[in-house]
Amino acid sequence: MTDTPLLKLSGLTKAYPGVIANDDVSLSIAPGEVHALLGENGAGKSTLVKMIYGLVKPDAGTMQMFGAAFAPDEPRAARTAGVGMVFQHFSLFDALTVAENIALGMENAPKLNTLSQQIRDVSETYGLPLSPDRVVGDLSAGERQRVEIIRCLLQDPKLLIMDEPTSVLTPQEVEILFKTLRKLSVEGTAILYISHKLEEIRSLCDSATVLRLGKVVGHCTPSQTSARDMAEMMVGKLLQTPTRANKTPGEVVLSLQELSANSPSDFGMPLRNISVEVRAGEVLGIGGVAGNGQDELLAALSGEMLTAPGMVHFKGRDVGLLGPTPRRAMGILSAPEERLGHAAAPDMSLTENAMLTAALREKLEHRGILNWGRARSFAQKIIETFDVRTPGPSNAARSLSGGNLQKFVIGREVLQRPELLVVNQPTWGVDASAAAAIRQALLDLAENGAALVIISQDLDELMEISDRFAALNEGRLSEPRPTQGLNVEEIGLMMGGAHGMEVAHV
């Protein structure tokens, strides 16, 4: 490593109306260094990298690259200077081919034939298999990310910025990505890596800068710092592990008897003979690999998907033929996985979104006339109780960061005093302290006598909060087992089931 840092930021400040996104941020990155940028949702990580990439202009402060002044006024200038960026939400065009997508992100793109050959070469060199002629809309999330990475690599970047690259990848794809990144680092490319996943950062990154509320609050060496210490630096306070009181479960609230149903989606998974009971005050955790019937189970419980009579009982009453609204009136509430578009209407305000699910139980309407005043104060209550970071309830759901919207969506259901709450992926994409707060709220709910069904991909989370654990596999639910004393192998067997044996045959 040379003495001149590859990139040096001094005193960068950027303010938006009502919020200072970055306040006097300084850091430096050496060639070949893998540098992590850590922080909670809304700590200012995205704004910082947007300034480096020329999408946002800093209000104050300077940037230097190899000792020379660096002030890109548009992404083109940043790319020319050797900065490449892989976006959190991929900046790809679905209807265009891989090669066309890559050409769009390059200065002086060569002819398509030449480019296709270059793409093949680079994808071979870095172990990122990708065919240049395929249409991007047909690719998996991991393959799409490869398109972005190759687009950056073709321009010989000196600094590669990666914004939460692993949130959409399978564990195998994460392995491939890390191999590529390590190889790049050895070749001298610096990497600025943004992620929530602290264990990933510990295994990949050489150094880390922690941001909180727009300010740098510390630097550390991830390999020598525990994940818990890093999380506490981000949050600025001691993390509390959710606690729950041991209570004997009450009467049966939800009873599924041989629940079978076809999936409403062509690519979905049918539910097969699911029988389980959940009692008041009990948390049933449901794990399993995504796509094994999680969405369908939530839909069958929330009432979005109707089922044959006699399969779904709530407090002894058959509710299989009731839609979401009557079920909500009875106290069956749910929060689906997809925040934008399913749990919340993206372009509607938080007040309107509060009205959408809470009109009945919070009496926000009276004989068809909406009471916006009450809806607004209900939205305000969610924002305060769950620490949702937003200027106010009149902001559109789309304008919130993923973690903040998740807090809002969960809070909206929790505050409606459900008797049965079904949640899919309660803390997906949420930072450590917010996740702890959401889990605590769910546990408090159970303690007050609600029955909870928590569907999650995060096994640690399920082990932490659920009383009993079951796994979905090919639409079948395993026999629920008490969480205490359950070990990893047993969980693996429950998740694998016959599915794992089928794989073994192949």
Partner: protein, 306 residues
């Protein structure tokens, strides 16, 4: 009824002329929609082009200057649409409808003193001996320069969209304005240019009606060609060559029904008059059964929020 009164050569030559206004208006709208903008104001821009071209040709005596003025007039009117939708972020459907109503009214006002005048005639290109070739000559080589320009424009649009970087960027903006913006492309500027191109094309198409096809000025003389152009773009699945085919189909049936009316076929005139619209739409709907091809961001408002 006397079908032998229909001269096949004049018929084919006639439908090339009938299709030309539609080709211009539709190819312009195709480019606009490829950039992700839906401009329903084609009819308004056509009629504005028709009167701008007519007035200029009459005043200067030069039909070519008239066509230039028509392009400028159409593009100027489309700038109003660009301002509303790209700068003030108004709804594209409402703005487009307003543009059509505005264009119809404005053209009626501008054209008050031009009713009943005959415009100067644009001469056909002299292809020399080529025009004497039997059958092909009278059909293909007896037209004015604008008609050939229309066909060249379709070919050029196809080539630019398919083979050039500018075309790729245009398509990219129409597919995902957010992604294009993240890569540093100027979405609003690109769309504004596309809208102006669409306006200029629609204007030329309108002037072709008032200067060559009819040729005189009457209020509302574009008679819904702008709306057909809009439908044509969709049913042609945003493909230039298919659009050309659809335009010829429409032109062919228009010409045929005129000839049939002349020949005194025993079908009420109203049915004959509606036939080009009905048949063109049916054929194109059948052709475009396989959906797809629509730019993903078509009609969506872009706002560069960081």
């Amino acid at each position: 009824m006397d079908l032998s009164a229909i001269n096949p050569l004049l018929f084919v030559a006639g439908f090339l002329v009938a299709a030309t206004p539609l080709i211009f208006a539709a190819i312009g709208e195709l480019v606009v929609e490829k950039s992700g903008t839906l401009n329903l104001g084609v009819e308004g821009m056509m009629i504005t082009g028709a009167i701008c071209g007519f007035a200029t040709a009459v005043e200067t005596g030069s039909p070519l200057l008239g066509f230039a003025a028509a392009a400028v007039g159409g593009a100027a009117l489309s700038l109003l649409f660009a301002f509303l939708t790209q700068i003030t972020l108004a709804n594209q459907v409402a703005s487009g409808l307003a543009l059509t109503l505005f264009g119809l009214g404005l053209s009626a006002l501008l054209g008050q003193s031009y009713v009943g005048i005959k415009p100067p005639r644009l001469p056909d290109i002299n292809f020399g001996p080529l025009a004497d070739i039997p059958v092909i000559g009278p059909i293909l080589f007896t037209h004015d320069v604008i008609l050939y320009l229309g066909i060249i424009l379709v070919a050029a649009t196809w080539a630019v969209l398919k083979f050039t970087r500018a075309g790729l960027i245009l398509r990219a903006v129409g597919e995902s304005h957010d992604a294009a913006h993240a890569l540093g492309y100027k979405v609003v500027r690109i769309r504004t240019l596309a809208i102006m191109f669409g306006g200029a094309c629609a204007g030329i198409g309108g002037a072709y009606i008032s200067l060559i096809r009819v040729p005189q000025w009457t209020e509302g003389m574009t008679a819904g060609i702008g709306w057909i152009a809009l439908a044509l773009v969709v049913f042609a699945s945003w493909k230039p060559w298919r659009l050309l085919l659809g335009a010829y189909l429409f032109g062919g049936i228009t010409q045929l029904q005129l000839n049939l009316q002349g020949a005194g076929v025993a079908i009420p005139v109203e049915y004959l008059a509606m036939s080009p619209y009905v048949i063109t739409i049916i054929v194109l709907v059948v052709l475009s059964r396989h959906k797809g091809g629509a730019p993903a961001c078509l009609g969506r408002t872009f706002h560069a929020s960081s």
